[in-house]
Amino acid sequence: MNTFQQFLAIVVLVLLTAGCGSSKPELRVYKETNYIEIQETDKQIPDENAHDIELQETLRAY
């Protein structure tokens, strides 16, 4: 191996070692947008007992 290769290898090892240090808590700043506009929409999710009612109606039909 030549001197340049050796130098490059050592630089990489030092950088990797330095990158493994710990850090203190860092402050993050960001914009948060959250709002709701009430709108009338179709209701598709059945109530929890909806299938029981349907089942009873089916049984009654029989």
Binding site: E32, N34, Q44, I45
Partner: protein
Amino acid sequence: MPFIYKRLMYLLALLSSLRFAVWALLLLMLVIFFGTLYQVNHGLHAAQDNFYYAWLTPTINQWYTPESPDAVSRTISWMLVPLPGGLTVLWALYINLFLSMLLKFRYGWRQVGSILTHAGLLLLLAGGWITHITAEEGYLTLQEGEASNVAASYTDWEIALWEGERIDREVFAYSVDALNPGDLLEFEQVRLYLKVESYYRNAEAFVDPNAANTHVTFNVAGITHLEAVPLDKNPERNMPGILFTTWIGEGAREKLLLYAGDPSPVMLVVDDTPWFLELRRKRIPLPIKVKLLDFRAEFKPNSTIPSSFSSRVNVQGPGMDRQVIVEMNRPFRHAGFTYFQSSYGKADDGSEMSTFAVVHNRWMLAPYIATGVTVIGLIIHFGMEMLRPRRELKGDSK
């Protein structure tokens, strides 16, 4: 000097050797084996944290509990020293591969296949590392008519501070996952200081002014003290809590207790302006604002089991304002973020809600590219070997 130089050259030779690579691969096998055993009782997330994303694995006495001597713990009860964790072994392999390419390879046309194969493996390891430190996963739940530009993390938490109750607000936040007692969180905007006294990664809260460990604390729910409980197998169920000593400017020092289960933020009035402080799931800012216009679900006959469900959303961002349908197996991708239709529910007022799983990973393609480069390298390498004249091969064998 020659002594140090000699030692350094020895170290480089060792780190770039094939023997080093073989030992590292054997250690990786062990880490995966023990990590899989650990996962049986502690869950996937704990196994990832303690084995695959760790510099050192835990020793057996750190995870063996005599009260529940399960078969897995007994099998490996001899493991008294920690192993190098996944991070250590993979970094060792990366350094080994990099140094061997730098110091040992002969570069020429004949080696193109081998060089490409090794470069592909380097890219695979580098991509894995960058994904590990930069990728984020969260969820976004919206009611019909609701819009938001932030997703919430499943597992990470933050201390967030904002002014007033506005639709658009600037939030100042500290991640709490790496907090230690003694750490100081500074919010210079209001000269508010929080010094960490105790940090519980998972806790239960109690309202009992007569308990021995009660502090005079300040919070909305009237919680007097916290007690640590073991981490849950499902990390999203952990409820962290933090006890602070806090002060504003040169004011008096008070105890402040923030708990993840407290539904309301703490209000502070600074110079006649209300500010809110909350321990909440870490927010992931999105490059777009997502508004749920309509949620649609189709159900199997006579049941509440969905056969398919989809959401019509409006996405608004720089140079973009359009409607998109997000449905099962058809996610929406934009600027490194992927939005999957994940779940649905009903709000208290009866309106429909839709939940999207949000994944942010700019290096999502790295494993595919790396594997492609490696495969091309192998094809070139073996192709060239097969096409080499027989005479040359005979010469090699002498």
